[in-house]
Structure formats: C-alpha cells, structure tokens
Symmetry: C2
Subunit: 255 residues, 2 copies
Amino acid sequence: MQRYFVPEDHFTEHHVVITGDDARHIQKVMRMKPSDSLICANNKGKAYLCAVESIDGGQVCAVIKQKITGNSELPIQVTIAQGIPKADKFDTIIQKGTECGASLFIPFQAQRSIALWKKNKKDKKRLRLEKISKEAAEQSHRLYVPKLSEPMDLDQLIAYSTSCDYKMVAFEETAKSGAQAGFPTLLKKMNKGDRLLAVIGPEGGLSVDEAKKLEDHGFVLCGLGPRILRTETTAIYLLSAISYHFELLNCEVDD
Amino acid sequence: MQRYFVPEDHFTEHHVVITGDDARHIQKVMRMKPSDSLICANNKGKAYLCAVESIDGGQVCAVIKQKITGNSELPIQVTIAQGIPKADKFDTIIQKGTECGASLFIPFQAQRSIALWKKNKKDKKRLRLEKISKEAAEQSHRLYVPKLSEPMDLDQLIAYSTSCDYKMVAFEETAKSGAQAGFPTLLKKMNKGDRLLAVIGPEGGLSVDEAKKLEDHGFVLCGLGPRILRTETTAIYLLSAISYHFELLNCEVDD
C-alpha cells in the first residue's frame, strides 16, 4: 500500500492533511478516490492506516483508521560517512542505504574524492538527495527518513565521531590481508539503540594516512570479505550484513 | 592492479597473449608500456601476476611472473534466479551480484515481469550483460566470471532446481509476517561447495501462486528483514548476508 511521510503538524487526532508533491502524487499518479486506503507516517516513529476523505485541489484530507504496529527500523543506528563519489553514485547510495536501514548519511570529503559539492550547487543537490531518501523510506516502509548532514572533512568527521558508541572503517587493505573478524566482533559488542559510525572511501579508496588517522582515533579497520567492492556497493553490503546479524540471525540484542 | 580474464588457450607456460577489447584497454585506457604489471586470470580458478613484454597492434604479450594465491570466491555457489525487471535494472543486478559473489544468473520470466526478452534483442542483451559481468568480475578480483543462463519460466526453473542442494525464495509476505529465521537456518545447513538457488521476484514481487508452487517443490520461503527491498536490492542483500555468514562471521563450513 502507498505510504507517505507527512509533517507531524499536518496530523490531528483523527485526520491527516497531505499537501504539495504527495497530494499531487495521490491524485495524478495513484488516481485515488475518496475511501481509498493509504498509509501516513509522521517521521517520528508512528504510521497510520488512513482512508482518503476528500480531495480539494492541492490538498488531500484523509481519516485515520488505525495505528500500524511493527518496527521496520534497524535495532542499531547506523551512520554512513561516505567518501564523496563521482557522478550520481551518491543518489544510489542514499536510495539503497535508506532501503537497507541507515539513520544518517555524512558526505565525507576524502583525499581521493574527485567531486566537490560546490557551494552554488549544494542546496539543489541536498534537495534532490532528500527527495530520494524520503521516497526510498516510503517505498521500504521505514518509520524514519534518514538524515543527511553537511559535508565533512576528516577532522570534522573525527570530531563528530565522539558522539558515536562504535566506529569503523571499511578498509580494502584489511580485506586484502584476510583479516575478516573485525566487523562481526564489533557487531557482537553492540546493544540495541547503540550508534555505529561507518566510514567508506570514495572510488580510489581511503589513503593509508586517512585510515591510520581514523584508527588512531578509535575507529576499527574492517575488511568486508575477499572481493573488492565498488564504493557504492560497500554501504549496501555493510547494512545488509548488519540487518542479517541483528534481524535474521537471532543474535538478540540487549535492551 | 588491473585484472583481465583471458581465454585459457591464450596462456602458454610462461606467457599470456591478450587480444580484442582488453588489448585495446591496456593500450588506450591504461596506457601501459613494456614491463608494466597486470593480472591475468584464466576463468578456471587461477590468476597470475604478469608484466607486459610487447605491444603489437591489436595484441599484447605478457610474461607470467607468479601465480596469485588466495581465493576470492564465496564458499558456496549461489545462483540468482531474478524475476526479469524493467529497464536497465538487470544490468545493476548483474554488476553488483558479480561483485558480491554470485555464480550464475537466471533471468526468470515471472508472472509480474513486465519486460520480455524479445528474440531479436536477446543476443544483443546477452552480450551486454556478459560484458558487464566480466568487467565486474575483473574489478572485484573474482576468479570466475559468473554465468548467465537463457531465460526460464517457472516450470523450467523448477526442473532446473533439482540440480541444486538448497533452494529458497525471497518472499516479501514472509518478511511482513515477521518470520526471519528461514534464511539463516538454511545457511547453517550448508557445506562448502553446496549449490544454493535463490529466487527473487520482479518489481511487483512473486504472486502467491508462484510462491506456493515453489514451496511445493521444496523451496524455502525466506523473509529478508522488515524493510521492503526493491527487486534490484534484494540480490545484493542476499549475497552480502551470505558473505557475512560464511566469510566474516567465522561460521566455518565443513569441507
């Protein structure tokens, strides 16, 4: 069933008012009529089964039928600090990373990042990425739309990392050396609600200097298997493995 | 280091001859000169560190320096039977699925597959997909290029499945019902070299009839977490989880 994130102040006790692009989507794409069902989520952890009540130009009013139970969020909070990649790869990372449960994305200006987020294009880029993230969160039945931070350089990322419970770096050289225990060892230590910061290099990978500096600041260098993953595949691998570990493998996390 | 798959009959005891697109790539894109290093793999499980010896028009001759040890292949053989998706999503699935270790891809003509592989375009499509697969296998340091079968319908897929040790279906409805133990339970049963066939629906998912028929033929219906994954994300999730299970989590598989 179609889902929409609706700002919390558009909810009243029994109704939801949907405006803007989503109202247009309901009318023009979904061609909904009064009494048709949809799900409205408030991006604060709650979602409701609703029925269209009235459609009036740019505004759709829906009546709340019932609260939807069940939690589709990962038990740990994962921040992906992604070395800024070329072209539209960040779009893919945001879309797939949202589907796979990330909480926050940090564009990380790594030494080998070729693309820069130029000031004059930054706002437009942010709007597009936020739209991709919202749509992916709706499609995958998330309860929250992941956040997108301002771009950070290495020092900013290290300063930010002090607020996280666990921190890791997906590092190809560790993968090559065959040391694969770091990542599962880290996950086994984590409890429900803990925050993990995972740093992923851009196309050329992280430099040895960057990896060393992160390691000096308490980041665990982790290999992610013996195959070399493209930068845009790494976040999906990481989040899928986290989902498998916590949500499927019955590795119960302590409350 | 740049890797190329070279047909086995281009290898002699001490030399490799590279022709065609790869020879052009070495000259025009990599701009290699004599004595530059590269890796040549024979798609039979062996890879060698080589050095360019001579470049002569459409042909590059390289001398074999040493055999490369280490295995980058998943310990189990995974076949992805992918419900044929729309547009260029199969390209993504082949590329990322190759990076993540798949052995074989079967385009599966599911009830809800909108796209058909028309006869007149099938050969061109196959050539493109094989090229994507070869390049992804080179980039990710695989020892084998995954194979691509002819498209199959449900009955053909069921007939094929008798040759596999384990078979599963990624089924959204199982995910929705909260039953997540099926997939890890299956993996825990598997031993090194076993063959797993995993069926993934197209955009609209598998129909209940298709899932039922597969289940009747011994396929295990498996949920892959509480979030609804796009069809092109599902294979990557599945293969990443398999890699995590066998390659990282130290779930040693019996020889």
